[in-house]
């Protein structure tokens, strides 16, 4: 139980996917313009990352290890995650239209999201079992959502400021992201 809690805390704060591992920077900059789209994207990532961690963990343990094909993990995971996202999209569109209208437009963005693939690969690197992988996937995505929502708030504040012309848009966003990353670096002092 302690181990599960440590995995969660570690994935959300200490090794936050965005501010400490620098995964998924593209959606981080792209979807953080407004807090509500940030939350929508965050939930979509949580949903996909939990399922993909489960699927990739099973495939790794029962297929790749069995045939001594651990070195194929990257390519196999890419294929699995891409198909899984497609499948989820179709599934939601048909059976849960309300959820689809909330997170549907973010799903194609996740198909090739490196954060999702990163979670799957980190799971096998750390030698996590099925349950731990699922927990890690979920918490890493929760950390991603946290980062996205914090940054959306920062961006909302920045909009009200008179930023020098050469810094408008991406430059000031990256500077702000760097400052938040430094703040998050404070968590690295916690030894888990």
């Amino acid at each position: 139980m302690t181990k599960i809690l440590l995995i969660m805390l570690g994935a959300i704060l200490v090794e936050n996917f965005i501010f400490s591992r620098f995964f998924g920077i593209c959606p981080f900059l792209g979807v953080s313009e407004k807090p509500d789209t940030a939350v929508g994207m965050g939930f979509a990532v949580m949903f996909v990352m939990t399922l993909s961690s489960a699927a990739t963990s099973l495939v790794y343990d029962y297929l790749l290890v069995r045939f001594d094909l651990e070195y194929l993990s990257t390519i196999v995971f890419i294929v699995i995650i891409a198909s899984l996202v497609q499948f989820i999209e179709m599934f939601l569109k048909k059976l849960l239209p309300s959820l689809y209208s909330a997170v549907g437009i973010y799903l194609p963005l996740i198909t090739t999201n490196c954060a999702v693939l990163g979670a799957a690969l980190l799971n096998i690197e750390e030698g996590r079992g099925f349950l731990e992988s699922v927990v890690f996937g979920f918490s890493a995505a929760a950390g991603f959502t946290l980062a996205l929502v914090i940054f959306a708030g920062v961006r909302a504040r920045m909009r009200e400021n008179n930023i020098p012309k050469s810094f408008r848009g991406s430059p000031i966003a990256l500077i702000a992201a760097g400052l938040i990353a430094m703040a998050f670096a404070g968590f690295s002092g916690i030894s888990l």
């Binding site: 790749l64 094909l69 194929l72 294929v79 699995i80 497609q86 499948f87 179709m90 009200e160 008179n162």
Partner: protein, 270 residues
């Protein structure tokens, strides 16, 4: 079996299984979408200006197909788009009056008194909070271009401290009308020749103290209008375009030249 062959077979098998599953899923979970939605969306301008009141062109297309919005709901697309959408929907095209936005203020830099030098954020709402803007007139254009930033068609520019709409670029969507914190942008018929370039509701004597281009509600236009299209209500003249026949009497009689014409432009473009 050689490792290369195993790798090849496993990867091929994974790919094949996932492919078949996705193909099956796309059959099982197929959702019927109305093809008219896509057709209408292709006809709409795609600027997502929001002038129709929906979240974007896609949302409007769905609303038209559901029958919630009229086929002429897109003002920005103009009568042609309206007709084409009506054809897709199999309905009669509705009457469409092309509108354009007009900033009802002529208080440019030299004409309106300034209270102070504003050096804040280039945004009308921000300037409005700083004592109502730097212009002395509480009704006039603040001139920091919130409307220009809102316009999806690049039709608005700032000319001498007052926003000016380029009628050729304006599609009449009305986004600027709601973007203006002072509410001085109005939609008028595209071929309107005359309009009143002032929104001041103050009494004439007071208006005169802060703006040279302000309506003083002298009622000369109202008395001289042969069709009764002009009325002075709430301290300023207003034109009823359903009655106006563009004779130009008001334009000639106005002692302060508040009534503005586009006649020169119209003749040039013809």
């Amino acid at each position: 079996m050689s490792p290369v062959l195993t790798a090849f077979l496993v990867l091929a098998a994974v790919g094949a299984i996932l492919g078949v599953m996705l193909a099956a899923a796309s059959r099982i979970f197929a959702v019927k979408t109305d093809e008219r939605c896509e057709k209408i969306q292709a006809l709409l301008p795609g600027a997502n200006c929001g002038g129709c009141g929906y979240a974007g062109c896609g949302a409007l297309a769905e609303a038209i197909v559901r029958g919630e919005a009229p086929t002429s709901a897109c003002k920005a697309g103009g009568p042609e788009t309206s007709e084409k959408i009506a054809a897709v929907m199999g309905k009669k095209p509705e009457a469409f009056v092309r509108m354009r936005a007009q900033v009802m203020c002529s208080g440019s830099r030299g004409k309106t008194k300034r209270l102070y030098e504003y050096q804040g954020l280039e945004d009308c709402s921000a300037a409005l909070r700083a004592g109502g803007g730097d212009k002395a007139c509480p009704y006039g254009c603040i001139g920091h271009g919130s409307c220009a930033a809102a316009c999806a068609f690049g039709a608005i520019s700032l000319v001498d401290g007052v926003a000016a709409v380029d009628p050729d670029k304006c599609r009449g969507c009305g986004t600027c009308v709601s973007a203006c914190p002072k509410g001085i942008i109005k939609l008028i018929p595209f071929d309107a020749v005359y309009w009143v370039g002032c929104m001041s509701e103050d009494k004439g004597a007071q208006t005169r103290t802060y703006c040279e281009a302000g309506c003083i509600a002298c009622r000369i236009c109202e008395k001289n209008c042969p069709t009764g299209a002009i009325s002075v209500v709430g301290g300023r003249a207003q034109i009823d375009y359903s009655k106006c026949d563009a004779c130009g009497v008001c334009y000639e009689k106005c002692p302060r030249k508040i009534i503005v014409t586009s006649r020169e432009r119209v003749i040039l473009s013809v």
